[in-house]
């Protein structure tokens, strides 16, 4: 690069200082940009009308007597370990199992889904197609189906979350691999390594920190998602929330939400710390 640049300086190139002294005018907003912006605004207004959007609701919603049911919080219920702590632990167990199994599965699948490291073209296309289909299924729908198919309770929820974690991590991880430096892989192949061994030696070290960081992020997602999955019968704290909602015990739900909020905050901090350390 440097040499090429130097060679140019030696040859006859028009003096750049002449044209560089003229201040350019600020480029005008292009008509296409304006048109696109107008289109987005028009479509938003139309959609708002169609969906019955009303600004007034932002005030009237607070007059709903439902809100009174949130207060005072039933701390006696919330602090009883059978009611909240035990199901919450179950939620964590679901999230941990789903994250670990999901991340283990995502490692080989991720390598198969990157153009750089796929063993061959057919594998790449097949794996990518399957993962695209899996990702296209809304996770909540997946949970409903799997909970019904496997069993009501923690196991069904854990399986749904595992599939979800694998899909998310494969997507993130394979894109990282796509962007990885291909040159160490070239070196490993030049040394006569088999494809798998060369990928392990030449690519994995470069993408492993990102893999760990994404895994921490997926765990964070899973803790939140396992609450939601509990709502549809996947076990854990979500089931408790759903039960209390049926009895309109919003005073208890608010208490549970505060506990979850605090714990999710703590996990986010830990996950952030891990990501900062490895990336």
């Amino acid at each position: 690069m440097r040499l090429a640049g130097m060679a140019m300086a030696d040859t006859d190139v028009a003096d750049p200082t002449v044209s560089a002294t003229v201040r350019p005018r600020k480029p005008r907003l292009r008509a296409r940009t304006v048109l696109i912006a107008a289109g987005v605004i028009a479509f938003t207004v139309y959609s708002a009308q169609q969906s019955g959007w009303e600004w007034g609701s932002f005030i009237t919603v607070w007059t709903n007597p439902l809100w009174q049911r949130f207060w005072p919080i039933d701390w006696e219920f919330v602090l009883d370990r059978n009611n909240v702590l035990d199901p919450l632990i179950e939620t964590f167990q679901i999230a941990i199992v789903a994250t670990v199994i999901g991340c283990l599965l995502a490692m080989p699948i991720g390598f198969m889904m990157s153009q750089l490291t796929a063993p061959n073209r057919p594998t790449f296309i097949i794996v990518r197609s399957i993962m695209n289909v899996v990702r296209a299924i809304p996770d909540l729908l997946l949970a409903v189906i799997l909970v019904a198919a496997v069993s009501i309770g923690a196991f069904g929820g854990a399986i749904a979350l595992t599939v979800f974690s694998t899909a998310v991590l494969v997507k993130l991880f394979s894109e990282t691999i796509d962007g990885a430096d291909p040159r160490p892989l070239e070196a490993a192949l030049a040394a006569g390594g088999r494809h798998t061994a060369a990928v392990r030696a030449g690519v994995l070290p470069e993408v492993f920190p990102a893999y760990v960081a994404y895994s921490a992020y997926v765990f964070e997602l899973n803790v939140r998602a396992s609450v939601v999955i509990g709502l549809v019968g996947g076990g854990g704290i979500g089931r408790v929330i759903e039960a209390q909602r049926q009895f309109f015990r919003y005073d208890r739900i608010l208490g549970i939400l505060i506990v979850i909020f605090v714990i999710v905050m703590i996990i986010e901090q830990i996950s952030d710390a891990i990501r900062r350390r490895v990336l």
Binding site: D181, P184, E186, G193, A197, A198, E206
Partner: protein, 263 residues
């Protein structure tokens, strides 16, 4: 022995990188390849270990045909050929040791290398390779923490760990400063002399080619335009290979003296 017989390489898109090249390199030779960028130097080297597939012709390394070789046959040929890269091509986020062990991939079962369970003999080979380039003290340092010259020595050690009979070096000093360039060229010369490894080096700088080479190969637009003893080479030869007059940019010494700047 390396035998090129009427070898052509055409890249997808129709660029002809090598045109009907025939040449023979005997065991233990030290060959320098020169030519402008785009003349096919890199392609010539990469065709030898199949990193770039030859479109036609025949390339034999120690009697084994490389053109069209696949699978274990290709890996077997590659394992005999060490390669050194302009940009070192190290896995920078792992240790020097792990990089040098890459040179043992062809002989170690995949499950072992994948789990990092390297046999003692292979670790020993890696240590010896590091000792040969005087950088064994850095064995467990992360590769990214080394200087450019040190990284290139790790690259050489990785190639040596293969216990190769042929060494290919693709612009090995283009990314290094003049002092380090001479050290690395000296290392390659010593390895050629001590171990008798056939060595082919692509070089950009003509004075380095003159200082270190024995046999010179000149490429121009994919064609072999010179092949002879470096002692017989003068500026006219270089002018013919390059198709233009020699400039200070073509010399490392000029680079060292700050011979060209922007002004």
């Amino acid at each position: 022995m390396i035998e090129f017989d009427d070898v052509s390489v055409t890249y997808r898109g129709g660029v002809k990188a090598l045109r009907n090249v025939s040449l023979t390199i005997d065991d233990g030779e030290f060959v320098v390849v020169v030519g402008l960028s785009g003349a096919g130097k890199s392609t010539l080297l990469r065709a030898m270990n199949g990193l770039v597939p030859a479109t036609s012709g025949s390339i034999k390394v120690n009697g084994t045909e490389v053109v069209g070789a696949k699978g274990s046959q290709l890996r077997q040929v590659r394992s005999q050929i060490g390669m050194i890269f302009q940009t070192f091509n190290l896995a920078t986020r792992t240790t020097v040791m792990n990089n040098v062990l890459m040179g043992r991939l062809a002989t170690v079962p995949t499950w072992r290398s994948t789990l990092g369970l390297w046999p003692a003999a292979d670790k020993e080979a890696a240590f010896e390779a590091l000792e040969r380039v005087s950088i064994v003290d850095k064995a467990y340092v992360r590769a990214s923490n080394l200087s450019g010259g040190q990284q290139q020595r790790v690259g050489i050690a990785r190639a040596l760990a293969q216990e190769p009979s042929v060494m290919l070096a693709d612009e090995p000093v283009a990314a290094l400063d003049p002092v380090t360039s001479h050290q690395v060229m000296g290392d390659l010369q010593r390895i050629n002399r001590d171990l008798g490894i056939t060595t082919l080096i692509n070089l950009h700088f003509l004075d380095l080619a003159r200082n270190y080479g024995k046999r010179l190969i000149g490429l121009r637009e994919g064609e072999l335009v010179f092949d002879g003893d470096i002692a017989d080479v003068d500026d006219d030869t270089f002018r013919e290979i390059y198709g233009r007059a020699i400039t200070p940019d073509d010399l490392l010494a000029a680079d060292a003296a700050g011979g060209h700047g922007n002004g």
